[in-house]
Symmetry: D2
Subunit: 355 residues, 4 copies
Amino acid sequence: MSADSESGTPTRSTSGPPTALTRRPTTEAAEEILGGYFPVLDHGFVSLIDYLGSDESVERAARVSYGYGTRQTSATRGLIRYLRRHRHTTPSEMVEVVLHCSMPMFVARQWIRHRTASVNEYSARYSLLPLLFYTPSSSEFGLQSSSNRQGRADDAVSEELYRESLDRWDRTRQQSSENYGWMIEEDVAREIARIDLPLSTYTQWYWKTDLHNLLHFLTLRVDPHAQWEIQEYGRVIAGMVKRLAPVSYEAWIDYQVGGDVMSRSELDALKLMVQPGAEGAGLQSGEKSMLDPDELKALGLSPREAREFVAKFEPKPVPEFDLDLSVMRTAEEVRIEMESAVPSASRGKASDGHA
Amino acid sequence: MSADSESGTPTRSTSGPPTALTRRPTTEAAEEILGGYFPVLDHGFVSLIDYLGSDESVERAARVSYGYGTRQTSATRGLIRYLRRHRHTTPSEMVEVVLHCSMPMFVARQWIRHRTASVNEYSARYSLLPLLFYTPSSSEFGLQSSSNRQGRADDAVSEELYRESLDRWDRTRQQSSENYGWMIEEDVAREIARIDLPLSTYTQWYWKTDLHNLLHFLTLRVDPHAQWEIQEYGRVIAGMVKRLAPVSYEAWIDYQVGGDVMSRSELDALKLMVQPGAEGAGLQSGEKSMLDPDELKALGLSPREAREFVAKFEPKPVPEFDLDLSVMRTAEEVRIEMESAVPSASRGKASDGHA
Amino acid sequence: MSADSESGTPTRSTSGPPTALTRRPTTEAAEEILGGYFPVLDHGFVSLIDYLGSDESVERAARVSYGYGTRQTSATRGLIRYLRRHRHTTPSEMVEVVLHCSMPMFVARQWIRHRTASVNEYSARYSLLPLLFYTPSSSEFGLQSSSNRQGRADDAVSEELYRESLDRWDRTRQQSSENYGWMIEEDVAREIARIDLPLSTYTQWYWKTDLHNLLHFLTLRVDPHAQWEIQEYGRVIAGMVKRLAPVSYEAWIDYQVGGDVMSRSELDALKLMVQPGAEGAGLQSGEKSMLDPDELKALGLSPREAREFVAKFEPKPVPEFDLDLSVMRTAEEVRIEMESAVPSASRGKASDGHA
Amino acid sequence: MSADSESGTPTRSTSGPPTALTRRPTTEAAEEILGGYFPVLDHGFVSLIDYLGSDESVERAARVSYGYGTRQTSATRGLIRYLRRHRHTTPSEMVEVVLHCSMPMFVARQWIRHRTASVNEYSARYSLLPLLFYTPSSSEFGLQSSSNRQGRADDAVSEELYRESLDRWDRTRQQSSENYGWMIEEDVAREIARIDLPLSTYTQWYWKTDLHNLLHFLTLRVDPHAQWEIQEYGRVIAGMVKRLAPVSYEAWIDYQVGGDVMSRSELDALKLMVQPGAEGAGLQSGEKSMLDPDELKALGLSPREAREFVAKFEPKPVPEFDLDLSVMRTAEEVRIEMESAVPSASRGKASDGHA
């Protein structure tokens, strides 16, 4: 491997991959962003490197048929929405995406928990790491939430506390970077030199998964309970799905992101207030016009479940995920940033010697 | 492999496995049925062969702690219900079951679609098959449903049609059995001799999976949309889960089996009829006291979705799955039935020769 | 679903999918066969429906880099061979194929055991099955092997035995077909009507997997120990891989198909006869010029292991897998054959009603 | 969750789990270590928390039979060795282990790449981390290898370089610890406070996998090419497998650890020097008594491949993995060490509130 590839980024200077003719299903809105780099957080990115299939591939698999291009959109849409509504998820495994992503290691550690995916990560045993670290902006720097044991409170944090934190981070990172550079210069094994880099250090990987598993990932990762930093990746990837498989995306928004689940007790409660209309068409009011906390408890809902139940009837904004094409960067720009953050080592530049 | 093991069933005549001392988590209600055979359909069975873990193992994994035996049931129950309600499913992967099952091949073909499981199936390339076939009873013999393209209508079928079907099945099976026996006698390769046995022929396997994947399997397979025959297996296995991990079972009944999902549009509709009570506690009627089909359509529900939505407010019986211990058979009884259904071949009784 | 799609085959009459421009990696030799149908056995087929990636994608993933088109073939080849030799398999997960296949159900049951794949199979609960059955040719009709408990002997089988078998198959299939047609005509639920079709009935599916898992599948399925019928599928698919990823294919032939494993005792034996040359370059004879069965036994090899060991030094033809493009059929031809084998039912032609 | 469980360790003071009667397969040598903690590296550990199955379970699954306790060891051994020799791996999925492990995060990041396993990791979003860091001993502190781009050289490192490295690590860790403690004290969200802890920080998890996947993990992780630190974990876990399933362990040593693969070209070369004996029994010298580098090249071996080939005939020590029971610690001892390393925070001690 040449010195050029130390940073794991490309050596080409053109603005994108060349075009070729194909008889495979092709999606214009996905081609538009193919190979472009979308910034996430302060130094991270997500790029759609390759894809396979489309909404029509989902439909064809469901029909165990092919001859794409023959169905009208309306039939495709009806079928795809039916599949998602009833959790018939296997046909959506027929779409695949390959992403090139860079994220802080603490985000990578959450991400990798999704097992049904292929991953090739930058190896810090083999290569030198770009010394890029994630710094939360002041708006994302938060106190421990008192209601959610694994999240942040919404309250603003004092400017002073944030400043002091920045200073501390700076000092740690400067020291870690210096130590790493020193050890590399002393020719200490890379796999040892890297062990004291902080979890905020950016890594990168190729990540490949299918649409079913991707939407499951996104459902969990654009959720407000996920750590804010990984949500940011989720939002960009969701914008890519919207371009690649817009009908599947819309069904996912309507049935997963914008929907909710009701337990047996919650349904029991609802049925007291709402019932099928005359002749089974439409809905009408049920026998009760209100349910107080005691009644919910009598239906089997714990205090916490009752709060969660009531909250389901509060307004809930349904997000739209759209890519901002104006921020899209070329592979070359990203490569230069990455490469210039690699400590310059005077040794260890041997070829990879696979021949 | 000796002739005894041709049928894939045991050669021991005792009533169950011997007991030993263990320091592993042990569940009495599961031990009670361990190694017992529960009949399913006319010749099938399910037997709990081995298990690992318990409700407490789920809790300990969630707490990344151990020292089981120290938490009170109430805390375990609250945590397990919380996990299931919020689809935090990884801790339930810490419980595992091993089942020995026999089912018609068309059922086996549905079952095997669940990929996250370990399977060792009886090999008809290697061994002779017991010639046992599944015959639907008259109550389960049904016409094609007109509303559900992959199901049965509820209407009764004429006695005459059922009789004629039985006769036809009998003739096919007799012929297939005779051909199989003849080919085996002529020493035709077993992997060829079996190719014209019908899909109703029983096969058997060891099947091992974890509680998370098992509950997902059961959610789909005890659902009325699953083919009735596989539902029968689901109901027996659900009864086993109830004994092995009763708290997880109860949470599954309350949040999955007895619950339902609501889409974005369905929630929008509900919020018109139901809203949080004063001060956010409890529920009260909303701005609308009824919603007719046109209003549902205006909210984005297709006619089919509207029908499905209204149906969610109809009474829905929530099943209880209990094993009937009086029908439990010994391994020995089952072995004899299987073995006596294997055609007697005068050749091919060599040892397995692995030495 | 319209009546046209009953057979699961396409409704388009053109000779293949249309072409479009793409910036994705594209392989000409794969494009050439895209959407073409290769016959397997008497009524089966395999068609490459879609693909993602190429040999260069494997290389880029290994380098966690992209900018394809910049590396010379020699470097790609050296790296890919290195990866395969050392079983670094994750980069080959970056190539994906989608196949449309039709095979007898007893073959499908072996195939589906490979779990890391996505499958959408023709549903006989939902649709009517084409009544096509597999008949072994006389050259593949064999007796039970005496040395291999799950295989066929090489000896020729009498013409008489084969004829009689054909007659018996014909009778069973005619009867099964008639019964199926009759039940469909009587409007018996399809999921019941199909239960006595023989295992030789053809089914079909979309099957999607990645190159790593595909090569593992092929290693097992082009092996002489696999049932001959599934080997036939393996050989056609291997020919497709050769076109899609020729360097990976060649490495697989050299390191898996044409290679072998040696156990600790086998290596101990070999080291007695072969040793490193002077100065560690090349090989030279060791201390022994022969090893008799007793000496092999003394080295820990059981009689069976000793036979297997010696057999590794016998000539072993290494197969080449090449597609015969002259037999490639169009989707339309295949559709017509399938469709004309579906029993004509006068009922049950409703729309799929997903709207 | 109480303050006690902050460290993810147990609150019981007894010496191990209580015993109970079970009818499940039980292995005495595994019971002996159940719940005991084996130290790895300076602060890590592995403990066998639970297990399912035994060598006999593998055999029974292969026979799709049960009635364990009836086969003699010799038959079990012959079958299990046959299965492993021929890579029939599914029966070994019938054994399962649950481990509680603690390791530095850079090791955890390598470990988690094995996807077919269940994991519940200590959450640093939710809980406070024990501030324990891994420090390589001087014997494991190495320079970058020049022959292996991702490993360490064997050469000794100067005492001075090691001392300086220790000092630098100490300073970074002290600073990181102080910053973490300060942020926790200021009530900064835990998910933010932890982002600058170094990769050498210990984490812990429950890890559950089956014997097939475990042996695959061990094959890769006790290999000298794996990072030395994860090898240490592999060696302890291999010692646990030896107790739980000794016959499977022995077969793994003989066929995987102590064996090797030969490519097509390597076999071609070998066949020139070694050939089957007269009448196919035993081996005898072939037509060549030596092969020099040029001849190996002519057979298709690249210079690197030729070196790797010759190296296969050098003496190769085959490891034995035995647990040292004298170092086994109780859960209680480990809990105390972990807990005392958690920074004492004066806030955030709320209950987990799942009720």
